[in-house]
């Protein structure tokens, strides 16, 4: 792939709570290339959404972000709220699971799209309207001229999500962050929205970071994927690699837990135990307490290391990790 658009290095996110600091994201490094669809997958509480919110400056006041998030070369960690506002909806935009969180029920769908344009661009109302119509048509809203004045509640869930995507694309962002964009949709509508995202990437070369719990969605449209567990990034690889030859024991267990018709009911693989309490995370690999291959060394954080150019893994079973962990015993526990 081509140039790096987004690079995260050693990102930690902590939330100050009454029970102490919750380490929601711990030492995550990854990069996303221009024009690719990068999937971030994991179960509830793994930190995938928190990571995206941290990158976008959307975390609440009790959160602290450390490390580096560079987007088009610009450092985003520590950016002020005004700078973030200028960035969002312009060079980066977001799509969330529930379209109604992004749409204002009081404005017509056409106005929402054209507003997003005039908020960031000095163009005439007429120009913004024409562009909004083109965008609505581009995301598959039938008869956009006629629907322009419709309030969001007049549309079905699938159509609303298309409007949100049109709004997100209004200023031709370099990066689209989509957090569970199809989770609330029926399967036939989901497949339409996934088609749309695929098509956008081809037509506009929009880079997409897709956050989801659904391994099926990942397999369908992503190029590369990062797997998160309890705040740590445990593996990244091309989608073909992850599904053909997952290397991290958590990734393996997650894929094995998916129901298929070949498995006798009652024999699905389960992951014993529970996710650790992130207010008091264990030192080292956070999957260790549930891992069938746990070793003594797992109390030390395994560094994410290259198995191959495209396949990174953070597990002491991997020779690459052991190699990377050798000098000075590099990483020391947790987020601190």
């Amino acid at each position: 792939m081509s140039d790096t658009l987004l690079r995260l290095e050693h990102v930690d996110v902590g939330f100050a709570t009454d029970d102490g600091t919750v380490s929601a994201v711990s030492d995550v490094s990854l990069s996303v290339s221009e024009g690719e669809i990068f999937g971030l997958v994991g179960e509830s509480g793994c930190g995938k959404t928190t990571l995206a919110m941290a990158a976008m400056g959307l975390l609440p006041a009790n959160a602290s972000v450390r490390g580096s998030v560079r987007f088009q070369g610009q450092e985003l960690v520590g950016l002020g709220p005004d700078d973030f506002r200028r960035l969002r909806g312009d060079r980066i935009s977001m799509v969330f699971q529930d379209p109604m969180t992004s749409l204002d029920p009081a404005f017509s769908i056409g106005e929402q799209v054209s507003e997003t344009i005039t908020a960031h661009r000095d163009v005439s109302k007429k120009h913004a309207r024409d562009r909004a119509l083109a965008l609505l048509a581009g995301v598959g809203i039938p008869e956009p001229e006629r629907r322009y004045e419709d309030a969001p509640h007049r549309l079905s869930g699938g159509m609303r999500q298309r409007v949100v995507i049109a709004t997100a694309l209004a200023n031709e962002p370099a990066l689209l962050l989509a957090d569970e964009p199809t989770t609330a949709l029926d399967v036939t509508i989901q497949s339409q929205v996934l088609d749309l995202l695929r098509d956008l990437r081809h037509r506009l070369r929009t880079t997409i970071v897709l956050i989801t719990h659904d391994l099926g969605v990942i397999a369908q449209i992503c190029d590369r994927v990062g797997v998160m567990y309890a705040g740590q990034l445990v593996e990244t690889a091309t989608v073909a690699e992850i599904f053909r030859a997952p290397r991290h024991p958590y990734t393996q267990a997650l894929l094995a837990a998916l129901p298929t018709q070949d498995q006798v009911p009652g024999t699905l693989r389960v992951i014993p135990g529970r996710v650790p309490n992130l207010a008091d995370p264990p030192p080292g690999c956070r999957f260790a307490s549930r891992c069938p291959f746990v070793m003594e060394v797992c109390t030390t954080v395994p560094p994410l290391a290259h198995e191959t150019a495209d396949h990174l893994i953070a597990c002491w079973l991997s020779e690459a990790t052991r190699e990377a962990g050798r000098p000075t015993g590099a990483a020391t526990g947790g987020a601190a």
Partner: protein, 344 residues
């Protein structure tokens, strides 16, 4: 163990070959008096459904939002009264049961919901929730009930010490196990499970699916499994019924429905599954548009407005069920013509 014995009561009473549940011509209309169409409009949530479940069988009902699958489940549970049709449980017509006899029926047919909070009281301790049905139906003595609650918790894989906890202290998977334990308490013969695993993470979902499969096998429970996740359905059910706009459009052994679907809607649903396999990527969505309003369903075949193979006849004639194999039927003019040779 002890719980096992208690739970297995009654199972042998069913005659071989007789379905435990038979639903025929079931209709549920809701009136939408404040709707856009003015007074008297009717929402055709369920519009003439026939189905049967045999003892010890898992029948899945699949469909998208608005298909009527949850309304069907609620009618069978007798939580709402059907507009027309019959529900026969274990040879007895239960469509209009009231009072004491309805309570008896409810012991035999228990619900499991997506959100266990909708069936268990968030303020109650776990043990009380599980014991609720036993108390309500006055099953056993107090100490027997207590022992049974502990057995049930053990049976669903929960540490009996959790009996004193409240729901908010439990994980989502544990709560769903409590919901299942509560459903099992009165030794039902049919469980109606409406999206029981759709709120759960993959690894937890696997645990709950395993539990349901074990219970079904060990207790010879019949399960009506309402779900939208086709991978889950294919894994757990013996037979599958596909619903669209209030009607069953195809039904059959799960393997036949998934390997050899005959109705264009079933084909479209299966084609839309996001397989967790990058070598099986969907090649463009098959279905255009969205499900029409159930207030004014299309004439003839209800699927025709989105159907890629619809013919003129689909506008005027509602297709009846055609048999495509052992227990495998679908309601489609085009599929029927294909089966019967060249189109007339």
């Amino acid at each position: 163990m002890n719980g096992q014995l208690l739970l297995s009561d009654d199972v042998a009473a069913v005659q071989p070959g007789a379905p435990i549940l038979r639903v025929s011509g079931l209709v549920k209309h809701f009136s939408t008096d404040r709707g856009l169409l003015g007074g008297g409009a009717k929402l055709h949530a369920v519009d003439g459904v026939d189905l049967e479940i045999n003892p010890g069988e898992v029948l899945a009902v699949v469909g998208e939002s608005g298909s009527g699958k949850s309304t069907l489940a609620r009618c069978i549970l007798r939580l709402i009264d059907p507009t027309a049709g019959r529900i026969v449980f274990d040879g007895r017509d239960v469509t209009a049961l009231k009072g004491r006899r309805l309570a008896d029926f409810r012991q035999q047919v228990q619900p499991v919901f997506q959100d266990p909070f909708s069936s268990i009281d968030p303020r109650w301790r776990v043990g009380k929730s599980v014991a609720e049905a036993l108390d309500a139906f006055a099953i056993g003595t107090r100490s027997e009930r207590r022992a049974r609650v502990l057995d049930l918790l053990d049976r669903v894989g929960l540490d009996p010490s959790l009996a004193g906890r409240r729901p908010h202290e439990l994980s989502g998977g544990q709560r769903q196990r409590v919901g299942i334990a509560a459903a099992l308490a009165p030794s039902p013969r049919l469980i109606v499970a409406d999206e029981p695993v759709s709120a759960l993470d993959v690894s937890v979902q696997a645990q709950v699916l395993n539990l349901l499969a074990d219970l079904q096998r060990d207790l010879r429970l019949a399960i009506l499994f309402v779900a939208h996740d086709l991978a889950v359905v294919e894994h757990i059910s013996h037979r599958t019924a596909v619903m669209y706009l209030g009607k069953i459009v195809e039904t059959g052994p799960t393997e036949a429905v998934f390997r050899d679907p005959r109705h264009p809607y079933t084909k479209a649903l299966l084609a839309a599954i996001p397989h967790p396999d990058p070598e099986r990527r969907a090649t463009g969505s098959v279905l255009q548009g969205e499900i029409p309003s159930a207030v004014a369903p299309p004439s003839g075949c209800r699927f025709r407005t989105r159907c890629p193979v619809a013919i003129e006849r689909c506008v005027t004639d509602e297709p009846g069920m055609t048999v495509f194999g052992e227990g495998h039927t679908a309601a489609c003019h085009v599929a029927r013509a294909e089966l019967r040779g060249p189109v007339d």
